[in-house]
Amino acid sequence: MLTVENTVAWIDQFADQIEAKQSYLSELDTPIGDADHGGNMVRGLVAVKAALNPAPADLTKVFQATAMALISKVGGASGPLYGTAFLEMAKQSKTDTDLETLLAAALAGIEKRGGATTGDKTLIDVWAPVVSAVQAGKLTQAVVDDAVASTEPMVAKKGRASYLGERSVGHLDPGAVSSGYLFTALLATEGIL
């Protein structure tokens, strides 16, 4: 079950991972994007950490503050996609504190916002298997790592990488990698799963 305390701890861990991996994320974004994923995500998550300290009063406000900080600071495609995910979790958390329901709402929001689907070499290729695994009660680090790795041989069909067509093969999708950090942080946070 999600509480204010463990959710803030989860998002803080995610922020720390993104900060630690900033240059790696931008490097991944160089051959198939525009080399700004690390910088954009760090700018957003620095704002998220500030918005969550002190911790908001309830779970909905935690997700809402996170969403608004990401939407207003990240820009590009990642800002609306991550922002929408947290906004959908905020809406759902008004009636539910169950992780699998919230994550399913977030995934549906990402799919609607970006119009992408599984196999398009986007963050959905990490979110979709992770949400299924959470629903089955079987999320492990291996599920997350395999999902991230699965984007490497894919041909990009959405976003800036799609202009490269076949030339996008052989590169990890940067958004999939940053989403991998979100779920690695989830696994590492005590008391959620």
Partner: protein, 307 residues
């Protein structure tokens, strides 16, 4: 990298500040944003607002087109990065006169999503918003499996047509119909001689040899369709007009507005040389443009080339 800047992180905020202070009679910056609205409030009274914007690095787009008969407001994002929804929303709110606001968006996944979110935010406030996504770059093969064609220099014609119609009192629905009519008629193709350098990256987006050019490059250094040795202007015209002809079937019974758009580092001298060859080439097809525009309208920082 050699540029007249301070900290690369502050390029956009310093540019916007310089722009609005240089032209206070035209542009007013909304507080805590990089959104700029028309200073002449009276000219917007009772009209549908037209808002555009996108990443920075394309100057004079988009703020340079804010004024009576064109845009009501423009929102500047980071270099080559879409502006965020809160800023777009601030611009929508600032120009709404109760008749709604029309958004002109270029077809990039980030722009489309951020403008869509701003639209959702405005609709929660009961502001009616409609939009058009411009995708004029014929270098990209249109396909169900990609983002589709990019929005490039032809977007300026969309700004002009919609801005003029809004100024004459067109409703939001009429503007939407007009935009959909105009959209399939705008086609653009590029040639690049050298790539753009994003200040925060510090090196060119791609490498071209001294004697090499690339056809079909996008305004953020997206890859084009062919590289070859540099050619005389006449041959460039033949390649680019040939591509356009394949797409729209140039026809002397139609009227055309023609734009030669410099990408940032191409001198006007070269643009006029190209224009000379272009008009000769069109004349062989018995086409005399009804309107000509030559200059830098939608640039790509310091890229050399034409769109």
């Amino acid at each position: 990298m050699k540029k007249i800047i301070n900290d690369p992180k502050n390029v956009v905020s310093e540019m916007v500040d310089g722009l609005v202070r240089a032209y206070p009679q035209y542009l007013t910056q909304l507080p805590d944003t990089e959104a700029m609205v028309r200073s002449d409030q009276e000219s917007m009274r009772g009209k549908v607002g037209i808002v555009s914007g996108g990443g920075s690095g394309h100057e004079p787009a988009h703020a340079g087109f804010v004024g009576q008969g064109m845009l009501s407001a423009a929102v500047a994002g980071q270099v080559f990065t879409s502006p965020t929804p809160d800023q777009i929303y601030a611009a929508i709110k600032a120009v709404d006169q109760g008749r709604g606001v029309f958004l002109v968006i270029k077809n990039y996944s980030g722009d489309v999503m951020n403008f869509d979110m701003a639209k959702d935010m405005a609709e929660l406030d009961d502001i009616q918003v409609k939009s058009i996504v411009v995708d004029d770059d014929i270098a990209v093969k249109d396909s169900l499996y990609t983002q589709g064609r990019r929005g490039v220099a032809g977007t300026v014609f969309m700004h002009k047509v919609l801005g003029a119609a809004a100024d004459q009192g067109a409703s939001l629905d009429e503007l939407e119909q007009l935009a959909q009519q105009v959209l399939p008629q705008i086609k653009t193709i590029a040639v690049a001689l050298s790539a753009a350098t994003v200040p925060e990256v510090g090196k060119p987006g791609f490498e071209l040899k001294d004697d090499e050019i690339e056809f079909g490059v996008g305004i953020h250094s997206e890859p084009g369709y062919r590289r070859e040795a540099v050619k005389p202007s006449k041959a460039l015209v033949q390649e680019l007009v040939g591509k356009l002809d394949e797409e729209i079937h140039l026809d002397a019974t139609h009227q055309y507005a023609v734009m030669v758009n410099g990408m940032g580092a191409t001198p006007l001298m070269e643009q006029y040389v190209f224009c000379h060859d272009l008009l000769d080439e069109l004349a062989t097809k018995k086409i005399e443009p009804a309107m000509m525009k030559v200059g830098n309208y939608m640039t790509s920082i310091d890229m050399a080339g034409l769109h």
